[in-house]
């Protein structure tokens, strides 16, 4: 058989492409359910980590359902969008990806830990090589950070990728987002440097651009929730003054 003529070559290429396409489509179809599940569980683990709970993949769903009491969307002015409540994985608060679409509203998760309420908000930004994202758990006063969690798509292992590890995320605990009734965010600075007028944490040495990305992400993504957080802060102040 002459394998060099044009007809054979074209036929060969076409059949190969069709077989490969069917094969890959089949693989994707048969695995996609498991993959979606993994992605959902991963997201639950991230939210739980921001609440200082390390759950492995098996128990994440159960823990999540136990701790997250409510989830809903808010408008940029801080008001809740009616009818958007729901903690299930199919509800808008869970499915909305703020990196892609903020027009429908901003997700807020309400959690209850040892009787006190925490608000978890998602963040999204850019690192050195690709997207970075995370969750910030904030106390009832709308200012004190209870915990944080960061993830990345492809930051350099050992450098920028360190943002995903406990030593970095734990630096955020107890920091204040609001100073004197104004939203200031938390700065990520080079180790040893300081910033006036706002709380700050040390960045990753050698991961400067990723650290800057985290800094920008905190400012921008958490900044979107500014009005929501300021409202919480004001309400909290009134409450404590009233006592």
């Amino acid at each position: 058989m002459n394998t060099e003529n044009n007809g054979y070559t074209i036929l060969y290429a076409s059949i190969m492409v069709i077989i490969v396409a069917i094969g890959l489509a089949f693989t994707h179809q048969s695995l996609s359910k498991q993959q979606t599940k993994n992605v959902e569980i991963d997201k639950m683990q991230q939210i739980l980590r921001s609440l200082r709970i390390d759950a492995d993949a098996k128990e994440a769903e159960e823990k999540y359902n136990e701790i997250i009491k409510n989830a809903y969307l808010i408008r940029p002015d801080g008001s809740k969008i009616e009818g958007s409540e729901g903690t299930k994985t199919t509800d808008p608060a869970f499915t909305i990806d703020i990196a892609k679409d903020k027009s429908k509203g901003l997700p807020v998760f309400e959690a209850e830990i040892d009787g006190s309420k925490k608000y978890v908000i998602p963040m999204a930004g850019k690192g050195l090589w690709g997207p970075i994202w995370g969750y910030l758990a904030i106390n009832e006063d709308g200012s004190t950070v209870y915990g944080a969690d960061f993830s990345h798509a492809g930051e350099t292992p050992g450098l920028g990728a360190e943002i995903a590890l406990p030593p970095f995320r734990n630096r955020f605990q107890g920091k204040q987002l609001i100073k004197d009734g104004e939203f200031k965010s938390i700065a990520v600075v080079k180790a040893g440097q300081t910033v006036e007028g706002q709380d700050y944490v040390d960045g990753i040495s050698g991961g400067t651009i990723t650290s800057k990305g985290v800094n920008a992400m905190l400012l921008n993504s958490v900044g979107e929730y500014k009005n929501f957080l300021l409202k919480l802060n004001a309400a909290h102040k009134n409450e404590s003054e009233g006592q």
């Binding site: 060099e4 054979y8 060969y12 290429a13 490969v20 994707h28 993994n38 090589w129 292992p157």
Partner: protein
């Protein structure tokens, strides 16, 4: 099953005298990228071994039917589909590892070792020999990755597989992690050192000087 001396050479040659990284200097890019920690290095080694082995087998089975003019395209399609399948399986059953390796699984496609083996070996040899050649080259690439990953993680982060191995008392006494170890240039220098040692041990690999 006893292996004949030829198949033995096919399987074991790439581990030493014909190592893809140390002797042929292929696949350097990924060995710089994924070796700053030990765990991704190991998973990468396994993934590349699987893809090389099965890519070799498929191309070897098809070798008499492939039109010569589009053989590179055919090889690329086979490698790309295998890599996609590996990546899909990792996503479904080893989600955490897949997250760590991120883009590097997809980048196996561009690993020169794969195309090199398909072109140089699988197109001219039977499936069984090609399979062994794939395994041999995958492992030959893999053990260098593991050695690099071991030293870079140990000296750069003081950990192995994420566990602390350098005791706190060392740090208290003034020991510091070497940040350069984590950066890609140091991986290149380490590979150079490995090649140096390897050549010093194997005199027949050294070029004769006039």
């Amino acid at each position: 099953m006893a292996l004949s001396s030829k198949t033995k050479a096919v399987l074991l040659g790439p581990l030493n005298k014909n190592n893809p990284i140390l002797v042929q200097v292929l696949g350097i890019c990924s060995s710089l990228a994924v070796t700053s920690k030990l765990e991704p290095a190991i998973v990468m080694a396994i993934a590349v071994t699987i893809v090389t082995a099965f890519g070799n087998v498929i191309i070897s089975l098809l070798r008499k039917t492939i039109p010569n003019r589009i053989r590179i395209i055919v090889q690329l399609v086979v490698v790309a589909s295998l890599v996609t399948i590996v990546s899909e399986i990792l996503k479904a059953y080893a989600y955490d590892v897949n997250k760590q390796l991120s883009v590097f699984v997809g980048l196996i496609v561009t690993n020169c070792i794969l195309m090199g083996r398909l072109e140089a070996f699988a197109l001219g040899n039977g499936p069984w020999a090609s399979f062994l050649d794939g395994i041999g080259n995958g492992l030959g690439y893999g053990w260098i990755l593991v050695v690099l990953g071991f030293f870079r993680e140990l000296l750069g982060s003081g950990t192995l597989m994420g566990y602390k191995v350098i005791p706190q008392s060392f740090y208290d006494a003034g020991y510091l992690n070497n940040g350069l170890m984590i950066l890609p240039p140091m991986a290149l220098l380490l590979i150079a050192c490995l090649i140096w040692i390897h050549r010093a041990k194997n005199k027949d690999l050294q070029e004769t000087t006039n």
